[in-house]
């Protein structure tokens, strides 16, 4: 779905969001995924609270048992889903426990 131009547009602002510390509000473990994410199941996604906004992000580098409500997390850059039809690899934000 994402064309090279769409991905270029998204990547332009990515650095503004990197290395930000936030807190984990709530999470779920997904077993049935949308297209492009099937190979990752099961995976963790949560809502993170940053200074003035909340964002939904995947949680990486941990197991579900490591997660606690209100724990600190930090944004990292990771590959998002599988490369689509034009073989452009899409990168984006995820979080890992701090």
């Amino acid at each position: 779905m994402s064309s090279p131009v769409q991905i270029w547009r998204l990547h332009k602002n990515l650095h503004n969001y990197l290395n930000k510390v936030g807190r984990l509000v709530v999470w779920t473990k997904i077993f049935v995924a949308p297209e492009g994410f099937e190979h990752q199941t099961p995976y963790l996604v949560g809502i993170m609270q940053f200074d003035n906004q909340r964002l939904p992000l995947q949680i990486v580098n941990c197991e579900e048992k490591d997660l606690k409500v209100n724990m600190k997390v930090i944004t990292v850059i990771r590959k998002i889903g599988k490369a689509k039809s034009e073989d452009v690899i899409e990168y984006g934000l995820k979080v890992k426990p701090l």
């Binding site: 049935v32 964002l55 939904p56 992000l57």
Partner: protein, 377 residues
């Protein structure tokens, strides 16, 4: 406001391998027109609700396609508001009648979902979410799972409370021959089925469904019948995380407030309701946000049996989205049909005694669009 429900038509809901979208839309539409005792020449406006067909098959332009296939030459529109497309089409059809633009309109909601794989459907439905949600690999079960976990944390709602919604709606569907799953399930079955997105199991979720519902709406001609007397729509952010609260759907409060005020009735006057139980937690949220019970007490309210047939306020007598099925754009129209049949006392074994005022509640996305209607005899 007094808009007559002049006719209703509903297909079987389920995996209908030998029917395509147009078959379903035409079947429901012809039933509704026949029941209205109007002719196709009397219908001067057609409102076609659909969310996914263009994305899944490449066929758009459904307004003209459905109207011309029916042999109706009037104006025709395709309406999309995610899973609230059906309710939205009813709302817009009502506005056209109130404006005096049209006199008799057909509203048909149709969706053909079972030709696609579950990951294709999961992706297509995420069109109703936000861009960050898609990039996080979120799904609609996951978005509602996040709301469920917040509700559990904040109010002590349990998995058992949620499972009871599924058990109750399957019980109601067992009396509905149009339902996709016309059979009962046990609490154990709900709790022990495979997890799709924690804490939800498969039986917390509405299914992938083919189906269509249609109604004919007309201006009041002074004859007795069932009337829509209130119609409210409200919207909120498309993405869940941006909302102030993750444990309420504010648009439900706003849409129901508008609809009740327009109808001149209070929530305590409602005798039967069809609400948007796309996931079990959604029915619990609806009970609270519509005002049937206090915030945080939705789980207990269900557990006490108030919402079961025979209770104070039977909810989702059709079986709801969970057990009757959820062909997304057909759902809002089907809700109007179920409440109309209840008010006409033609709901058979699932008839709610004394039902004279009913409510429908149709949600798009994770709460970004809500449409509420009030029906009265």
């Amino acid at each position: 406001m007094k808009i007559r429900v002049a006719g209703t038509g509903l297909t079987k809901f389920g995996e209908l391998w030998n029917k395509d979208l147009l078959d379903l839309a035409l079947d429901a539409s012809n039933q509704a027109i026949n029941e209205s005792r109007l002719t196709k020449n009397d219908i001067d406006g057609v409102f076609v609700a659909n969310m996914l067909h263009g994305k899944l098959t490449g066929q758009d332009h459904l307004g003209a396609l459905v109207a011309s296939s029916l042999g109706i030459k009037g104006a025709s529109f395709r309406i999309e508001g995610a899973c609230a497309s059906g309710g939205m089409a009813v709302h817009l059809a009502i506005q056209s009648l109130l404006a005096g633009t049209y006199q008799n309109v057909l509203v048909v909601g149709a969706e053909k979902m079972t030709d696609a794989t579950s990951s294709q459907i999961t992706s297509a439905l995420m069109g109703a979410g936000g861009e960050e949600e898609r990039r996080a690999g979120l799904t609609f079960p996951a978005l509602y799972a996040l709301m469920a976990k917040m509700h559990m944390q904040k109010y002590g709602t349990t998995r058992k409370h949620m499972a009871l919604v599924s058990v109750k709606n399957h019980y109601h569907a067992s009396m509905n021959e149009k339902a996709q799953f016309p059979f009962e399930v046990t609490m154990e079955k709900v709790l022990e089925s495979p997890v799709i997105s924690s804490p939800f199991t498969l039986f917390d979720a509405s299914p992938i469904t083919d189906g269509a519902g249609a109604i004919v709406l007309s201006t009041d001609n002074g004859q007795p019948g069932v009337f829509i007397t209130g119609s409210g729509v409200a919207t909120d952010t498309v993405d869940l995380a941006s909302r102030k609260s993750l444990t309420e759907i504010v648009a439900t409060k706003e849409a129901s407030g508008k609809a009740l005020k327009q109808a001149g009735v209070e929530i305590k006057d409602i005798k039967v309701a069809e609400v948007h139980d796309c996931f079990t937690i959604a029915e619990i949220l609806a009970m609270e946000d519509l005002g049937f019970c206090k915030k945080g007490e939705g789980g207990e309210f269900v557990q006490k049996g108030h919402t079961r047939l025979g209770g104070n306020i039977p909810v989702n007598t059709s079986g709801g989205l969970k057990a009757c099925g959820h062909p997304v754009a057909a759902t809002g129209v089907k809700q109007i049909i179920e409440v109309t049949h209840q008010l006409q006392k033609r709901a058979g074994k699932r008839q709610v005694q004394g039902a004279n005022i009913g409510l429908t509640h149709n949600v798009g996305g994770s709460g970004a669009t809500v449409v509420v209607h009030i029906l009265q005899t």
